[in-house]
Symmetry: C2
Subunit: 233 residues, 2 copies
């Protein structure tokens, strides 16, 4: 007889996932303890744990100490989206990148901007409007607010040399980010900047970042018509 091949954690994950998919473990059902599965499959609990961790990250199961492991009763679809620096995104498309600063304006944050940060009081900020171009055509319009308390250096940046987007990503790492996606109709100002018709439906990405509790920047990036955001593999 041949020796049983040793199971890798991906093997274990595939077995468990197959059982979930086949409804051998029903929606909402409780799975056996890691240790029992380990014994059944002939590996250690550590290996089962690693497999379960992956299934939990994928949103298939829910694990609780003492409560055990359950198949999610309400399955969800979980998608991961990568947003690169706009320059890289354009260049990855094989198009020539350029950017154009439109305006800067120093002011206390208005209420909608405060709301994005969850701030109770207005904060001194720099508003930056800029346009990203691909092959010299409008690609994305940025309306950005940068917190001057957290990021005073932004006042010294030459936006003719580098976009605020790229400068911030390179010099102001964040520890927390929130993103929102929605559709808007182009108003006259946006239409003029993006070179599209008024009323055109546009995808908007709103991104807000913090360094620990300190606000860094919030940006509303409105893409030119035809923009599609795709999930990672």
């Amino acid at each position: 007889m041949t020796a049983a091949p040793r199971l890798s954690w991906t093997d274990v994950r595939n077995v468990i996932r197959a059982r979930i998919v086949a409804r051998d473990y029903a929606l909402g059902a409780r799975l056996p303890r890691d240790e029992d599965i380990a014994q059944e499959l002939g590996c250690t609990r550590t290996t089962v744990h690693r497999a379960m961790q992956d299934l939990a990250a994928a949103g298939l199961i829910d694990r609780k100490r003492k409560g055990g492991t359950h198949v999610l009763a309400d399955p969800i679809t979980r998608a991961t989206i990568d947003i690169p620096v706009t320059r890289s995104e354009v260049e990855a498309l094989g198009r020539a990148y350029a950017h154009r600063m439109i305006s800067t304006h120093r002011a206390p944050s208005p209420a909608p901007i405060m709301a994005r940060f969850g701030a109770a009081q207005p904060r001194e900020m720099l508003q930056i409007t800029a346009l990203h171009l691909a092959d010299a055509r409008p690609y994305m319009l940025e309306d950005r607010w940068v917190d001057l308390a957290t990021c005073p250096e932004i006042m010294t940046v030459d936006f003719a040399q580098i976009s605020a987007n790229e400068w911030l990503v390179r010099h102001k790492p964040y520890t927390r980010v929130e993103m929102r996606f929605f559709a808007i109709n182009a108003d006259a100002g946006i239409a003029a900047q993006l070179g599209c018709n008024v009323g055109q439906a546009l995808l908007t990405l709103e991104r807000t970042t913090w360094l620990e509790a300190a606000p860094i920047t919030t940006v509303q990036a409105t893409a030119a018509p035809g923009y599609v955001l795709a999930s990672k593999s």
Copy 2:
């Protein structure tokens, strides 16, 4: 002297992340080997590995055998989005859910649908159009195609009882999913169904699923005005 507290992998992750954030490890720079970090911090390589795994999942570093661990030269923002069953989504908002089947139509898949699946040949499918309602008001409009070879049971489902969305999620698990998000202007048909003006900007979620290599379903879900898709914490 007091004993040094034992480090958990989250501690290690926080230390490494702090160094990346502070640019102690520059963009693109190579980090020390796991084992050296383990020795420096006083834990085992396993613990460092677990921390690194988390940072890699977050999109901060890139790891390669022999190549070592590098800080990503082009930082990316990685967002995770959970899409529940529409019924759960509506109920989580504290609104009453209902759905209305609009039409079904059996036909070979047209070219755009084939393209979503990456199929070379047309396949026999069932097209289902349906409307999800929240508090009796239009919430989301679905244009769905279900592969009849993979999922013949769909013909027997009573869509007055359960939406195709919910039935599929409960009975047809998938192993692969692709999602795309974009904005469209409401045409006359969509505007009539969603009760909005023609030309209104609407967010559309396109979702395609497979069981291994076999196509299951693809859906274009167009949300009512005001819909916002938010990333998970």
